[in-house]
């Protein structure tokens, strides 16, 4: 089969069984778009801004485990994609981004719509390629998918100059079955000596904790994590990125940890003597002040990326390997071990953990006559039976979603954890809905975040992706306002939006259903009504309490056991 460069790129996507290609055409990729026109297998999703394409593909990947694929043009198309690429990079999402480039003869001449895409994306990709020769195209595509999806996943950019896709130049096409890279060999199996050491430590623990992260979701380790945790009966906490890998409604789950984690999760971590971190990276939003993080603990750390280990916290038993492999090996060892666990100590530990739990740190004012954002999320959880895919933007609403929507399954919680990208939620919801057309998909957002990628409402119309937008509208950039209240004596510098569009009319203008909900009593019926409209995108504008804060909170620079809790007077702030 003889193919042009443009056809080779598209055919390689077909060979990779890519379902959706999210993109936006432009000069440098016209040959590629012509090749897309001539085939049916890969469905192209035309977004309204390249950032939306990357977020949608990213969320497709997060919700399915398959790589998300993007096609953008050179110059501004490429730079618009960068925020999305960085978002995927910080959360280790497998993606292949194909960017057009000006023709090879003019590279470096400041040609029209030329940017050094390989240079610009270098710090925010797992790897990138510039393909200058059509003969390298098929193999490079294979390498891109291989690198993106193996080891610690991540985005890979393939920059393709226009002349390489020239329809008049055709070469024989063979897509490699597999690819070997001498410089890239991800480690799968953990070191058995280290695993044994870890198991000994765990079985002798008196105040143990299981600290699970996004790596368990990415590594498909949920079943192993559950079996491992059930075997040991230890308390389990999760990072923001790991939510769902362990069922939130299970008795052993003590909630999310970190800056807006539960009191019980953070206190348990602080007092613990043995902590096993599984696919988590001791992020600064988890640790708080590093020097005071878990002062009594010995750490076991399982991660597929050696550079995640001992990056911020020195660990005692590092284990590099695939989470499923390592956990399976641990489970076998635990079952066959003759170490007798100190049941008395573990009972005492659980009773302490439960005392912290009894504080009910997430409680909020349920009698308010203004809609509380937590109430909306709780009702959403009930109306969707906890089964929906939830995407979110970034800010207070994101934390409320993480705290009040109890994820029992992995890949249901789709948010920008590492980069914290406002504008992620709506395009992400579209990507998820395309992947799971029969499931409920809701985007929990705020009136500030949603406006950053609002144009994707048009994409939703075009592809009939009936997601539900849950807009927690408090007229403030809520998280900014909260920090200003606590740390800047309530000087709300530029965190208030003086004009906010009429979201109902806006939704209608794009061909969707808009609703505005003002009273707490209307929250539930409105949600039920919206989710009953299976075929429609419903934009639900909830006018929520302007002054509500996210609690508990570890303030910047504070230690993780020094948590700010909701005081009774906080209810009266409004």
């Amino acid at each position: 089969m003889e193919l042009s460069g443009g056809e080779i790129v598209v055919q390689s996507l077909i060979d990779e069984e890519v379902e959706f290609l999210f993109g936006y055409p432009g000069g440098a990729v016209l040959h590629l778009y012509d090749a897309i026109f001539h085939q049916q297998q890969v469905k192209h999703i035309l977004v309204r801004h390249e950032q939306g394409a990357v977020h949608a593909a990213d969320a497709y990947a997060r919700s399915t485990g398959k790589p998300g694929v993007v096609l953008v043009t050179s110059g501004p198309g490429a730079t618009n994609a960068v925020t999305g690429i960085a978002t995927a990079h910080l959360d280790s999402i497998p993606m292949v981004i194909i960017s057009g480039q000006v023709g090879t003869p003019v590279i470096g001449t400041d040609a029209f719509q030329e940017v050094d895409m390989v240079g610009i994306t270098r710090p925010c990709v797992k790897h990138n390629f510039l393909v200058k020769n059509i003969a390298d195209l098929a193999e490079t595509m294979k390498k891109a998918f291989y690198v993106a999806t193996t080891g610690r996943p991540g985005p890979v950019v393939v920059d393709v100059p226009k002349d390489v896709t020239d329809p008049s130049i055709k070469i024989p096409y063979v897509y490699p079955e597999e690819v070997v890279m001498r410089s890239y060999n991800p480690i799968i199996k953990g070191h058995s000596g280290q695993i044994k050491k870890a198991v000994d430590l765990l079985l002798n623990a008196k105040r143990p904790m299981i600290y699970s992260g996004g790596g368990v979701v990415l590594g498909e380790g949920s079943a192993e994590l559950i079996e491992f945790s059930k075997l040991l009966e230890f308390p389990v906490t999760s990072t923001l990125m790991g939510l769902g890998a362990y069922p939130a409604t299970d008795e052993q789950f003590v909630g999310m940890l970190g800056m807006h984690g539960t009191y019980e999760a953070n206190m348990s971590m602080h007092e613990s003597d043995v902590i096993i971190a599984i696919g988590a990276r001791f992020d600064d939003r988890v640790t708080g002040k590093l020097e005071e993080f878990c002062p009594y603990a010995k750490f076991i750390h399982i991660d597929i990326d050696p550079s995640s280990i001992s990056k911020t916290i020195q660990v005692d038993v590092p284990i590099v390997g695939q989470v499923t492999e390592v956990l399976r090996e641990m489970i076998v060892l635990i079952k066959s071990s003759n170490i007798v666990m100190d049941q008395k100590a573990l009972e005492a530990w659980w009773s302490q953990v439960n005392k912290w739990r009894d504080l009910h740190c997430l409680e909020y004012d349920r009698n308010s006559d203004i809609i509380k954002p937590q109430h909306v999320v709780e009702q959403l959880y009930e109306v969707t039976n906890g089964e929906a895919y939830i995407t979110s933007d970034v800010g207070q609403h994101q934390m409320f979603a993480a705290q009040f929507y109890h994820f029992d399954k992995p890949r249901r919680w789709i948010n920008s954890g590492g980069l914290g990208t406002m504008g992620f939620g709506l395009p992400a919801a579209l990507g998820v809905k395309l992947a799971h057309p029969d499931s409920d998909v809701a985007c929990i957002t705020g009136e500030a975040s949603i406006q950053m990628c609002i144009q994707e409402l048009a994409t939703a119309t075009q592809y009939r992706t009936p997601v539900k937008v849950i807009n927690l509208n408090n007229r403030y950039m809520g998280m900014v306002r909260q920090w200003q209240e606590f740390s800047y004596e309530s000087r709300y510098s530029e965190s208030y939006m003086d004009t906010i569009p009429d979201f109902v009319k806006l939704a209608e203008a794009y061909g969707h259903v808009g609703m505005q909900i003002e009273k707490p009593a209307d929250v539930r019926p409105a949600l039920e009504e919206a989710f009953a409209m299976k075929e429609r995108l419903v934009f639900m504008d909830f006018l929520t309490d302007r002054t509500e804060n996210v609690f508990p909170m570890i303030e910047a620079g504070k230690s993780h056991h020094d948590m700010k809790l909701r005081s009774p007077s906080d209810k009266e702030l409004s």
């Binding site: 270098r122 710090p123 510039l130």
Partner: protein
């Protein structure tokens, strides 16, 4: 502490910028960096001299290993090794100082590779300390230009850094 990290990396466009970019993005310092292709032209050998605590060096080596183009690396300081740096120094000379500079160069086993009526270019190899000492021994006023390659090194014995 000073570390010499020797890297075997794919000889591809942009490989150098991946390494240099990693150091600047993560705030590691580079004292010197040399790079050239090896006997296998698909590979380059890069030598980075850097400094930092053991933890920082551990992160540097892990981060470098994570770069897809990096095939292998070693920290030479972890075992016995030999290292050399190449230097060229251009020195002003006059009738009175020519002999003296020549003698000094001989003491340091330097070679004079360019001569004019008013200058020498001296070539010298050695460990960095020796080169420092030679420059210090010259009269400051007479030094026109100093050019150093940065150190490169190899582990002692039969083991080597190769595929």
């Amino acid at each position: 502490m000073r570390h010499i990290i020797s890297i075997l990396i794919e000889n591809e466009a942009g490989a150098l910028s991946r390494v240099a970019g990693l150091f600047s993005a993560r705030g590691y310092n580079i004292e010197s960096l040399t790079v050239a292709p090896t006997e296998d032209e698909t590979l380059s050998r890069m030598t980075v001299v850097t400094g930092g605590s053991d933890r920082v060096i551990e992160q540097i080596t892990k981060q470098l290993n994570k770069l897809i183009d990096v095939v292998k690396l070693i920290d030479l300081v972890e075992s016995t090794h030999v290292e050399r740096e190449l230097m060229m120094v251009k020195v002003k000379t006059s009738n009175e100082t020519r002999e003296e500079v020549k003698r000094l160069s001989d003491i340091f086993r330097g070679k004079i590779i360019d001569v004019t009526s008013a200058s020498y270019v001296i070539e010298m190899t050695g460990v960095s300390d020796k080169l420092d000492a030679f420059v210090a021994a010259l009269d400051d006023e007479s030094v026109i230009e100093v050019l150093r390659s940065g150190p490169m090194g190899m582990s002692r014995g039969e083991k080597g850094l190769h595929l």
